[in-house]
Symmetry: C2
Subunit: 116 residues, 2 copies
C-alpha cells in the first residue's frame, strides 16, 4: 500500500491519510483481513506525528472500515470494500456542496430523486 501526502492541498493531514487508506481499500490494494501498517511505522514513513495517523485510523474505525485493537494493530474489516468506495464519493459530494454553498437538506432532496 503506497501512501503519499500533498501539502499543497491545504487539507488536514489526518484526512489525507484516511482518504488514501479508503482509496487503497476500495481499489483492492489491501483486502479484508489484512493489517495496515502500524501507526508508529506509518507516521515515521510520512514524517508526521503518530497521533496524526491514529486520528485517521480512528475515523476509519468509526466508519466501519477497519478494526483497531491494542496489540493487534489496524485490520481491514469484511465489507469494507463497498463502504470505502461509497464513503469516498460521499466526501466528494460534501466538499462540492460546501464549495458551492448548497445546503444539506437540498442535497438530500436531490439524492432522493436520483435514488428512486
Amino acid at each position: 500500500m503506497l501512501l503519499q501526502l500533498d501539502p499543497s492541498t491545504g487539507l488536514p493531514v489526518y484526512r489525507q491519510i484516511a482518504s488514501a487508506v479508503r482509496r487503497a481499500i476500495s481499489d483492492g490494494e489491501v483486502s479484508p483481513g489484512e493489517r495496515l501498517p502500524g501507526a508508529r511505522d506509518l507516521a515515521g514513513a510520512l514524517g508526521v506525528n503518530m497521533h496524526t495517523v491514529l486520528r485517521a485510523y480512528g475515523d476509519l474505525r468509526d466508519e466501519g472500515l477497519i478494526e483497531l485493537r491494542r496489540g493487534r494493530g489496524a485490520v481491514v474489516r469484511p465489507g469494507s470494500v463497498s463502504l470505502a468506495g461509497v464513503r469516498h464519493v460521499v466526501i466528494e459530494l460534501a466538499e462540492t456542496a460546501s464549495r458551492h454553498g448548497i445546503e444539506f437538506t437540498e442535497i438530500v432532496a436531490m439524492l432522493e430523486e436520483e435514488m428512486t
Copy 2:
C-alpha cells in the same frame, strides 16, 4: 458545445444527453443566458429522435438548470453552473450506492456526518 454518445455504456440515451449538457454547463462551455441547440437539430446531429432530446431537456429543466419555452428553445439559467457541478456528483453517488447495494437512508446518515 460538442456532444458525443456512447452506445456501449448501456445507459439510456436521454440520460447521456442530460449528463453531457450538465458537464458542458459545469465546465463553462455554455454560459447562463445562452441557448442550447434546438431539440430537432441536436436530435438530427446525434441520430436520435427529437423526443429523446426533449426528455433530456425536460429533466434538466426539472433540475433547474435550463428554461424551456416553445418558440424560444432551451436557455441556460443563472446559477446553473454550481447546480450542474453538484448534480453531477449526486448522480455519481447514487450510482455508486446502488452498485454496492447501500440504502438511501444509510447514504444520508454518512452525508450528515460529513457535512456537519
